[in-house]
């Protein structure tokens, strides 16, 4: 059995086993943890093949699914999505672990939903067929919706419906694009469609490309989210139960960014380049706007939520710089952001659990009472603001470099966000952890062993990502190079009006440069 299939099926098996457990049993947590850890171990087996051929999908499964409609179940991992699959399989056990302390009601159902969510996420990240991708995209949405709505705060119903309807509105547009594209190409298979575009057997007019791109972009932009489609984010992040917020910020937000990189660039190169300018403007707006809003939030969770919005802007910026460094940085930032923001949300969850509040004014001087918690928060926070030797620095630096190659002004504006993020995070830290202990802060105790357990691995990963980049970077670079090459080749077939494929291949970079000089490619 393929390792990838095993990784996919383990959470699903766990989901069904938990459903079959008697309702009053306490075994759900153990079952969920077991299956998510098993999925993690199994996903480690994906690394070997990927490091050999990072630019090609490995551990591929390709079987006929819906015969009458020519839909294949096609999944595989390459140098880009392997890290996102691993991010999922690492963070899900963490999420399940912290749920034990943070979720007390109807736990059986909650753990079942967590495993279903993991199944959906692994599917989204490994799908190589547009139909399969869409199916997993929505499969991941439903359990998250139920977790937010069923276990969230006072306004959980509102938050959950807003989250669902927002996402759904975006994704139906993607569905329309997928169906249209598949009707044109005669297949839903991503690799085949890309190959057909490259070889010229399938050509999309500029107009078609633009509309199809916008359809995909609608779904991804809501999910990332890109300013101004972010309005679901603060309410969902704050209302969701702590483990769900953790997973939303750490993993689910990567779905959209990954989609932009994987699908929008190679499939609709012209559309993507045509829209790049305003998308980058939106991304930079998001970076600065998110930072400014985070600055004035009186609530710890909201500060982290808006900082997340700000940091995700970098990912989008990196992708739409169309540079090797930018794309590498974007992927690296996705993983790094997942780990650092995840850690921040876990620690914020612990604070909330102890204090019963997330308002900054209810804290103060926590460091003296809970030095361990404060230290862990400090590390995660420093990683988040991009301190060198910690995870996010690598990603943000590469994104800025990529952006600077394309347009220096972009990089300059985005860099403002880096400075702002240091300001608001440090200020948050100062008000929460330093100074004199505030009123009633005495209830905040230090982390226990069971609470350290999920934090320590994340801290280790943050340091690892920040210091030994070479263990992650080569596959990312190779896969991104391949992807950007595809994007360029698909682009100039239209620019050159179909010369011979060989000619196109050799001239790839030249024409790309020429295209950029003309400005709009028409």
């Amino acid at each position: 059995m393929s390792v990838l299939l095993l990784t996919l099926l383990l959470p699903l098996a766990g989901f069904f086993i938990i459903l079959l457990l008697p309702r009053k049993s306490n075994g759900a947590w153990a079952v969920a943890l077991f299956f998510s850890l098993a999925a993690f171990l199994s996903s480690l087996g994906l690394i070997g093949p990927v490091s050999k051929t990072p630019a090609q999908p490995t551990s591929v499964i390709d079987v006929m699914w819906v015969e009458g409609a020519n839909i294949h179940f096609h999944v595989g991992v390459d140098g880009i999505n392997i890290w996102l699959v691993l991010l999922t399989t690492v963070l899900l056990p963490v999420g399940i672990w912290i749920s034990q302390r943070l979720v007390s009601e109807r736990t059986t159902t909650f753990y079942a939903l967590l495993l279903l969510f993991e199944f959906g996420l692994i599917g989204v990240f490994s799908a190589l067929d547009l139909f399969v991708f869409y199916v997993f995209w929505e499969v991941a949405l439903v359990p998250m919706y139920l977790m937010v709505g069923g276990w969230g705060g006072a306004r959980r119903g509102y938050a959950a419906v807003k989250f669902f309807v927002y996402t759904m509105s975006g994704s139906v547009m993607m569905l329309a694009s997928i169906i249209y594209l598949a009707n044109r190409a005669g297949t839903f298979d991503y690799t085949q469609i890309v190959a057909a575009l490259t070889s010229g057997t399938l050509t999309l007019t500029t107009h078609e490309q633009l509309l199809l791109f916008l359809g995909f972009f609608a779904a991804f932009a809501v999910k990332v989210p890109i300013f101004p489609l972010h309005t679901w984010l603060p309410v969902t992040y704050t209302e969701a139960p702590a483990p769900a917020t953790f997973l939303l910020a750490a993993v689910m937000s990567k779905m959209g960014a990954y989609g932009l990189l994987r699908y929008c660039l190679p499939l609709f190169p012209n559309g993507a380049r045509q829209c790049a300018d305003w998308i980058v403007v939106l991304a930079i707006t998001g970076i600065i706007y998110g930072a400014l809003i985070a600055f004035v939030q009186p609530n710890i969770k909201k500060v982290i939520a808006y900082s997340s919005l700000s940091h995700l802007g970098f990912v989008v910026l990196g992708i739409f710089s169309f540079q090797q460094q930018g794309a590498d940085g974007a992927v690296y930032q996705m993983v790094a952001h997942g780990v650092s923001t995840g850690a921040l949300f876990i620690l914020a969850g612990y604070l909330e659990h102890r204090r019963g509040s997330m308002e900054i004014r209810d804290f103060g001087g926590v460091a003296t009472l809970a030095p361990g918690l404060a230290a862990a928060f400090m590390i995660a926070m420093l990683a988040s603001i991009g301190l060198p030797t910690l995870s996010n620095f690598v990603g943000e630096y590469l994104v800025l470099q990529g952006a600077a190659f394309t347009n220096f002004t972009w990089a300059a504006w985005a860099a403002v966000g880096v400075i702002l993020s240091a300001v608001y995070m440090l200020w948050l830290y100062q008000r929460t952890f330093l100074g004199k202990p505030g009123h009633d802060v005495g209830v905040v105790t230090d982390l226990r062993t069971a609470e350290w357990a999920p934090v320590v691995p994340l801290v280790i990963i943050m340091v690892w990502l920040g210091t030994y980049t070479q263990s992650f970077m080569p596959p990312i670079t190779a896969a991104n190079q391949h992807l950007l090459e595809q994007s360029k080749m698909n682009l100039e077939i239209r620019v050159q009006q179909r010369t011979s494929p060989a000619n196109v291949l050799s001239n790839a970079s030249v024409v790309h440069a020429a295209w950029k000089e003309t400005g709009d490619g028409r």
Binding site: V66, G68, T109, G149, G150, G157, V161, M168, S169, I179
Partner: protein, 489 residues
């Protein structure tokens, strides 16, 4: 040509399902008179048996496909599919009715025999190849359904529902009949193939304006039956007033049969006029989706909400109709099958939760269902997600297939607007999930017992069916695609 008028045995086999239903229907009426109050539950089981036999006969009849009775009915894959579908819906509704009628203390044979008669009409519609058979089937189906809608005589809303349905329904049927008369006058025939032949003869056919009017009149009659806008007004009141199992039946079976004949008439008889009616159906489908979805947004009664949702779903089906292609016909068939499952299942849960005299039919009354009865809540959640169109449910694949057909026929705007509509729809469907999973149990949950065995079977079968159609759509897809090729396109 004397031989032509003496039906052969294979012709009888082709209407065997109708014959069986008829025999069982009459039998139930007789038994009704001679069974005691305590023995009444047996009548429901007998009707179930009748439907099972009819289902078997339907499959058997397909072994010798062909025309019967001077080509007035035709047994082909398409007709067999719809006959099987309405029979399956009938069986599920009978199962739901067991518990429902016992709860309302209204068990009797006439209920079941009416249901069987209604099914006869729908079976005839599925295989009708003649405008007369269409009219006969529609009337048999409708009259039985009018009575069923008002079956609980002492209930005021039941009466209102029946009366509204009857008055408006007869009005619509009159339109249809007038259209049939026009068509006969213009083409000299009521046979669909014959009409097609006359209309496609160049230069000698009737004046386009006149045949257009005939076509429009028939269109009005059928659009009423499928509750397409602007002829959808009756649906919410009728669905709300009727008993839940009857509503489930009305929203699925007559609609499926009406769509079956709708497609057959418009692709066979009026196929040559398609450039004229496609734009019409284009706008009607859009209007139906919009009215259904936006009106549903403000509903607080679950049955009414599902009524508007049913209108909206008719709109999606009309999108596939607009595609006017084989893929479109296959999409209609797939959609109706998965819609029937999810809708009948949803109504079965509602019928159980609503308690005696359907006191609890507001959305708030579903509050806390997940805590009290997690299994039923999970099933209803599956149905609702399927109605929204979330992947791995039949509803998603059906919608996907509909819009695929639409895009293959270059209906880009209709697809975009239709999909945008389905995002709007998520908003009101989610109210049900929110109530079930996110609110605390209220008064309605206090005396909620576990559902009757029949209802439970319906719920489980529909839920499993919904999931199977979503995960392995190919089980149905191939048959549907093959049968769609029967219609000339």
């Amino acid at each position: 040509m004397v031989g032509n008028f003496l039906p052969t045995s294979s012709e009888y086999i082709r209407i065997l399902p109708e014959i069986i239903l008829c025999v069982f229907g009459v039998l139930l009426m007789v038994l009704e008179a001679i069974t005691s109050e305590r023995q009444k539950p047996i009548l429901g089981r007998i009707s179930l048996l009748g439907i099972a036999f009819a289902f078997a006969a339907n499959i058997y009849a397909y072994s010798t496909p062909g025309q019967a009775f001077q080509n007035s009915i035709t047994v082909d894959a398409y007709g067999t599919f719809f006959r099987g579908l309405v029979l399956a819906i009938g069986a599920l509704c009978v199962l739901t009715s067991f518990g429902y009628l016992r709860r309302e203390q209204a068990e009797s044979g006439e209920y079941y025999s009416l249901l069987l008669f209604s099914l006869i009409g729908q079976c005839m519609l599925s295989t009708a190849n003649d405008l007369f058979m269409l009219f006969l089937g529609l009337e048999i189906s409708s009259i039985a359904t009018y009575v069923l809608a008002g079956y609980l005589r002492d209930d005021r809303r039941n009466n209102e529902s029946a009366l509204k349905y009857f008055l408006l329904g007869s009005f619509a049927t009159a339109f249809l009949l007038y259209g049939v008369a026009w068509t006969y006058g213009l083409t000299g025939s009521t046979n669909l193939n014959e009409i097609h032949r006359v209309l496609s003869s160049h230069g000698q056919g009737p004046a386009p304006v006149l045949i257009g009017i005939a076509c429009a009149l028939i269109f009005v009659g059928l659009a009423f039956k499928v509750s397409a806008a602007p002829f959808q007004m009756w649906a919410p009141d009728v669905y709300q007033g009727a008993s839940s199992p009857v509503t489930a039946f009305m929203s699925a079976a007559p609609k499926a049969a009406a769509f079956a004949v709708f497609l057959r008439v418009f692709t066979t008889a009026f196929g040559t006029l398609s450039p004229r009616w496609v734009p019409l159906i284009w706008s009607i489908s859009l209007l139906t989706m919009i009215i259904g979805n936006f009106a549903a947004l403000t509903q607080s009664n679950v049955k009414r909400l599902l009524a508007y949702s049913s209108i909206a779903h008719a709109g999606y089906i009309l999108v596939a109709f607009t595609a006017d292609s084989q893929l479109g016909v296959a999409a209609v068939m797939f959609y109706l099958a998965s819609y029937a499952l999810m809708n009948v299942g949803a109504f079965a849960v509602i019928s159980h939760v609503s308690s005696k005299h359907e006191r609890y039919v507001r959305i708030e009354d579903l509050s806390g269902l997940a805590k009290r009865r997690p299994a039923e809540a999970a099933m209803l959640a599956i149905f609702v997600f399927s109605l929204i169109g979330v992947p791995l449910t039949g509803g998603f694949f059906a919608k996907f297939y509909v819009f695929r057909a639409a895009l293959s026929s270059h209906l880009v705007w209709l697809t975009i607007l239709g999909l945008a509509n389905s995002a709007v729809a998520a908003f009101y469907y989610l109210k049900i999930i929110v109530a079930m999973y996110m609110h605390e149990p209220g008064e309605s949950m206090e005396n909620l017992t576990s559902p009757a065995p029949g209802t439970r079977v319906t719920i489980w079968v529909s839920a499993l069916g919904t999931l199977v159609l979503g995960i392995f759509p190919s089980v149905l897809l191939r048959f549907v695609t093959d049968s769609a090729s029967v219609l000339p396109r």
